[in-house]
Assembly symmetry: C2
């Protein structure tokens, strides 16, 4: 901006200095009022002091920048000219409302001050004009209290207490029953409170009131509430707030006055129906306070048809202009309609979908805009049962919203008990300090899972999301006492068998059974998702280890499996024994014997999954976790195993100890197992190709992709690739079948990304394992991070949990290096991501930017990823435009 | 090479087709012989078949490349012309020796075949020429056996057994006593053995003998011995071997003949003294075999003064030509001297230093050449006591050479016992399954340490190197039985109190007490190191946690401390209790109380270290390990602690469990402790600045550098920097002192390197912690890697242990990114390295290439680092010339 800076923007009479797109300078409220003015929509005249003025106010040690006050007075004159009454005129006073307004809506900011401009002189003018002394004094006492509290910092309770006392003294029960005299008395009493509390008399000069009001808005930007809100919502301090000064209009001047709020469409369902509430002879706060029951908006039609028609025309004009559903506030003063606010309305996800799809049909917006309007994070709401919002909840603990949805069941404390009760058709909630892979069966059997420890990517969380099962993790409030089969929280003891309910979308644990709402996807969802599918460039796959999950994901639109973990299969009851036998084998022969038992079971697993995913690619990851994870931990289990395989418990224990690792995450796992025990990977590849051959014989097209985990050097992949090819070739020869399969690798260690050009020479595809990559890039164990990560996020050391959304600066840079180096060798190298991030919208967008081919996520996140991918494509950040490198 | 390839290079008569710098093509031996010919030094004529011919031989499925055989015959003719006798001539036969020779000396290659060309006809000519039938038949029977074994693959023992039988039959005791007839009988018997064993008669045609001999040398390149040697010494298969065919000269033709080996200077001390041994009337193998006692070289002076003078002139000529100490082999035939070999001689480190320094004084070489001649890895020999090489050793176990030197002492199994016995002035060796920080005291008290588990960078290894204490780690052969206070290995049981000896340079554990040699650095060492110091660009610092280590390092030339770990101080007996109290504190107040107890002790530590390192920088790292490392682990210790601090054992246990981590390496440690418990870092900074102030008052210049560990985001460093500055400022104000201090960070996590441009904004210096960086880049816990890393190195998945030498491709690339990004923000940012790699020569060279300012290593490695840094500077790989980036 050149020349003299403009600090004050006038609006009114169908004109405005500002525009709707000047939110940064005028704040949301100021920009909205300016825009409505331009559209010829009646708004009370007023003006907005810019956010720049606010910022300079701070720079200048809380004084106004040069010219601001003069501009303010000039704008005030224009308002007077537009409205008629004059500010401070004892005969016909102009009153104003002073409001704060930042770029984004900030409920943590300053309250509005209404009726500013009243004093012992102007009150007479207001009485005269309104011919309603009660109305005028009621406004006056409200003004003194509001100004005293909001601007002068007097405790609100002092005014309220005095008001209550006055009611007792005069024997009335409601504020509205107070007489004019009582109100007068209150004005005087309130002013006394101000004098006593602040040491200064209540300011009678309207201009001083205005100046103090503006100061208060500016100061509120650094108030405690605003700071907290900014921190919680990532709003930078550097934005500043605007101040809107608007001429008062009164809905409480009689029966031809009133005030209302409305949505231009139904915010719950999205139906195209004007939807709102209205109160005759009332001010805005009365609608919100709920003292009187508002009427449906139709009531207006009969009593004030002109205003009603105006309103209809205005809302249509606004919807057309903003091309969105709006939330509007208006006041009718003596039959004349004024719009006080219009903004894009909040809505449920179902409504958002309906409105977006309808508006495309109405040619208000394009398909791309419709896609961009839906918050992918919110889609979760649609995919899981929800707790009825009308239900009354007895929340007894708060944990992390680890896997969305809701669940009701009886409390159980062990996986075995969960399975036993599920067999008796009882619904259970599994409550554990933390879960381990041995609990998988019990987790399957449960309606939902609660853990006392562990974060958003703890075992419980990851597995639950994979199953689409509700989970509340890291619920530190609850203390489990397994001996007494109870848990305690907030002084309450809950016994095994008691009913609890979970809200996995909020992390709440609720005592008793609550009412649930079942999800319904509906046609709007399907329409919008079909548009998203046309738009996106990323393919969406799913992480699934069994046919059930695979089927769910396919129904949700998955285009293949990006990660089929084989270790979960190892834990199933019928095979864990053979797995343990294999691990405890003393010789290669003994190990091979145990592996031979596993082979047919693994083959069956792969047949089921490959059949479910016929015609689509299935990436199968060979065994990844360290072997000790499969060993029994309790004496009871050890004894059982000892009996079964005939090895003394002492030897089992010694073997377990020799397998113990200080840092299992960085230990003998992944392809390191394949290098040292090639026979394990050999068995798995044999099972995969056997399965493929047997389906291929039935003319079912299968596309297995064999994935080697935890590769850090090219030599690892080269050696294991040779092993896989040799094994696969032998199986195919045996069956006289030709299976098209590929061999690729996880990129989940920093070194793999750093030497991706070497690794690419041996890989048909890359799949970023961003869970482990995040762990190693940060040097941060997700199992242990719970002790300090929440504090890190709270103290702003990290903007967010890097296990939830990809850390683009660190992990992302390494991914970029991996993609570039990989494709420098193989320009068309297929690259995907299969970490938990694959279903997180900002991470999906980042993957699009990197030019990946696909993301893979848990089944219930597939629709989210589809939508996020489409939005990323629309945002147009593709390979060409992405940021520079190191 | 254009036109027709030349496969055969002649030499002799002061001429040669090849040159000394053609080692790649002719092998070391062939090139040496060619070079001596050029120098006019008498060598027996001969020719060398190139390594290229060898490689083509393999390509052509074991046939000679076109023209090679023809060239061979032509060269043979030239030899005949030069020498006189003709190959295969029954009257006057030319005999040849056939030798292999690759680019590098390879003891794993083929043995030489001597006397080739003998058959039942040519033997007569040899008798005639030598007038010595016994000599001739002795040569014949040796040839048949040697050819039969080396070329035809007959087991050597079969010839030897026959020889022994013949001696018994004829009643003689030594080979030399065998009669001509006996030798004739043996020739026949040996040929029979060949016929029976190979199915073919012994080849009588000299040309067939030659062809088979050449084939055998070529084939030996892929023989098992050669393959093993190549693998162990990193020699590529693609080099191939040359074949040298040399006319035989005979030192065993009578008393004017003889053979000798000599070093041009003393290989043990480096003294400038011609040094060698000679045998009259003998062949080379007799000197080596040790059947007769050789005479000192001076003996030649009297008996064959002409030959002796020739030898002196030749060796001086050779030394001047090669500008190095040489190892030469020669033969005198009938008074005429022939040189058979000359090569750079092997020597002890002490000799290498002496020779290098002397040769600079003699103006044979420059200081830079002298520096480059010393192998930094070998310097270790000089710095530690060594086992007397003459001692006979009873090796009972083999572990990793974790910390060099030698030690003798009585076996103890606990750190407490080690300390108790050391107090009684007994020398002990601490034998543990693995050590933990609690063992520090016992390690200090011991002469040496053996562990059954853990690698080159295990706790024991790192701490021992820091102390300069001998250590054998990961000695998996030994099994410790603490109950019986014994360990067993190779069927031997060793009790507590038994003497053992350790060789930390080889990893050997030896039963009993062995003789030791004490190290002496000497003036040559100091001279050469002073040249190195002038040459190098890198500064060399040390890792030291106490004044003793600091003093040692300073004596070894350290220019500051690059890493002073503060946690070791926490383990000392007088403070561990306060540390535990601090950890177990339930409130901030209780924690502060415990910290207040630690403050004066920490201050004392820092005073001692800073005083020892006055005028030099001292980088002090704030607390790094997770807190649970400090807690007691045994019930006994728990009970003792419980009594001392008055907290029940159950609560101590519960607290210990709550601090337990799945992956402590990736857990709540480093700066994460500083963020969540700022009072700990506050105490440490207070102690540092208090110490600095109290020394500063005594006019002692101190240069503390405060280092924040495990930083992964800029925000961590920014917050902790603010804390440090605030604390330091308060302390300085209290003392009215101004201390110059800096605040920097470890770069030890991949993310820190990736966002180094952000972190640099808050850092005065960077120090690469390549231990942890290697762990996270590879996703490899060094505590757990022992299970598969050896197999990885053996299977060539990794070229070497990345905890020993920096992995330049992966870890190094990340370091490069870190340096570039850091200096993009602060071009003069001081950057060092303080991982274990700081004392490893190839890693030091890499740090030089990256343009780092310093490396820091354990005290005993400081001289190694100084030398390696100088060599890197000479090699000239500096910032300008280094490789391109991602």
């Amino acid at each position: 901006m050149k020349g003299k800076k403009k600090y004050v923007y006038y609006f009114g009479d169908g004109k405005a200095d500002g525009r709707g797109d000047m939110k940064d300078l005028l704040g949301g409220k100021g920009a909205g009022l300016a825009e409505m003015s331009h559209l010829g929509i009646p708004v009370p005249s007023g003006f907005t002091i810019t956010t720049e003025a606010c910022l300079e106010f701070y720079k200048l040690n809380k004084t106004y920048p040069k010219g601001m006050w003069e501009e303010t007075l000039k704008a005030l004159k224009k308002v007077e000219k537009s409205i008629g009454p004059k500010f401070g005129d004892p005969d016909n006073p102009l009153l104003v409302a002073v409001r704060s307004g930042a770029r984004a809506s900030m409920p943590g900011m300053m309250d509005t001050v209404l009726n500013l401009g009243l004093n012992d002189q102007t009150i007479e003018g207001l009485i005269k004009r309104s011919n309603n002394a009660r109305f005028a004094y009621d406004a006056y006492r409200r003004f003194v209290a509001m100004f005293g509290n909001v601007v002068l910092g007097v405790n609100r309770e002092r005014f309220e207490r005095t008001l209550e006392e006055q009611k007792i003294v005069t024997g009335v029960h409601s504020d509205t029953a107070l007489s004019v005299d009582s109100l007068k008395t209150l004005v005087t009493a309130f002013k006394d409170i101000v004098l006593k509390d602040t040491g200064n008399p209540f300011p009678e000069d309207p201009l001083e009131q205005l100046r103090l009001g503006i100061d208060a808005v500016f100061n509120s930007w650094h108030g405690k509430r605003a700071q907290t809100y900014r921190r919680l919502n990532n709003i930078p301090e550097s934005w500043g707030t605007g101040v809107s000064v608007v001429a008062m209009v009164f809905g409480n001047l009689g029966e031809t006055s009133g005030t209302g709020v409305a949505f231009t469409r139904d915010p719950s369902t999205g139906k195209k129906k004007f939807f709102g509430e209205f109160l005759f002879n009332a001010q805005g706060e009365d609608v919100v306070a709920g003292i009187r029951t508002p009427l449906p908006i139709d009531a207006l039609k009969k009593r004030l048809p002109k205003a009603y028609n105006d309103l209809l025309n205005i809302y249509k004009k606004l919807e057309k202009h903003y091309t969105d559903m709006l939330d509007i506030e208006f006041t009718i003063q003596d039959g004349k309609l004024y719009m006080l606010q219009s903004r894009v309305g909040k809505r449920t996800t179902a409504a958002a979908l309906q409105i977006a799809v309808d508006m495309v049909k109405e040619r208000l917006i394009t398909q791309k805009t419709a896609i961009s309007r839906i918050d992918p994070y919110q889609l979760d709401q649609l995919l899981h049962p929800m707790i009825d919002p009308k239900a009354k909840l007895n929340v007894i603990a708060q944990g992390l919203p680890a896997s969305p949805g809701a669940a009701i069941g009886k409390v159980v404390f062990t996986a075995e008990e969960a399975e036993a009760m599920a067999e008796r058709h009882e619904k259970v909630i599994l409550v554990r300090t933390e879960t381990s892979p041995e609990d998988i069966g019990g987790m399957h059997a449960s309606e939902g899972i609660v853990t006392a420890r562990g974060g958003m990517t703890s075992h419980a969380a990851v597995v639950a999301r994979g199953m689409g099962k509700c989970c509340v993790a890291g619920c530190g409030e609850i203390t489990i006492n397994e001996a007494t089969q109870t848990f305690t929280t907030r002084g309450i003891t809950v016994k095994a068998g008691d009913f609890i309910s979970l809200n996995g979308s909020t992390g709440e644990v609720i005592l008793g059974k609550v009412a649930l709402i079942q999800p319904q996807l509906g046609t709007a969802f399907n329409t919008l998702m079909s548009w998203a599918d046309k738009t996106r460039k990323l393919k969406i796959r799913t992480n699934a280890d069994n046919k059930r999950d695979a089927a769910v994901a396919r129904r949700f639109g998955a285009e293949g499996i990006g990660l089929c973990r084989t270790e979960h299969m190892f834990f199933e009851e019928d095979r864990i024994l053979a797995v343990r036998e294999m691990i405890l084998a003393d010789s290669l022969e003994a190990r091979k014997k145990a592996l031979a038992k596993l082979l047919p079971m693994q083959k069956k697993d792969f047949i089921e999954i490959l059949r479910e995913m016929k015609d689509l690619p299935v990436t199968i990851r060979l065994l990844d976790p360290p072997l000790h994870e499969f060993l029994p931990h309790t004496n009871k289990d050890l004894e059982a195993l000892s009996k079964e395989i005939g090895v003394p418990v002492t030897i089992l224990k010694a073997k377990g100890q020799s397998l113990h690792e200080f840092n299992p995450m960085l230990g003998h796992r992944g392809c390191r197992l394949g290098i040292t025990f090639p026979e394990i990977y050999e068995m798995q590849v044999e099972a995969i190709i056997e399965a493929a051959c047997s389906l291929s014989k039935k003319k079912i097209t299968v596309m297995p992709e064999i994935m080697i985990p935890l590769v850090s050097t090219c030599a690892e992949l080269a050696q294991l690739r040779a092993l896989c090819v040799e094994t696969a070739t032998a199986v195919m020869a045996r069956h006289k079948q030709k299976i098209t399969y590929t061999i690729g690798t996880m990129i989940e260690l920093p070194r793999a990304a750093l030497v991706a050009d070497q690794i690419a020479q041996e890989a048909d595809f890359f799949s970023f394992g961003t869970n482990d990559l995040t762990q190693t890039v940060f040097g941060l164990s997700r199992d242990d991070a719970g002790k300090f990560l929440p504090e890190y996020v709270e103290k702003k050391v990290l903007p967010q949990d890097p296990f939830v959304a990809i850390d683009q600066e660190g992990v992302g840079l390494l991914m970029e290096i991996g993609v570039k180096k990989g494709r420098s060798v193989k320009p068309k190298l297929k690259i995907g991501i299969c970490g938990e991030h694959g279903g997180e919208p900002s991470s999906v967008a980042f993957c699009h930017t990197l030019g990946l081919d696909y993301v893979s996520c848990s089944p219930y996140r597939v629709p989210i990823a589809r939508l996020a991918a489409a939005q990323a494509a629309i945002a147009g950040k593709d390979e060409a435009g992405h940021r520079s490198t190191v």
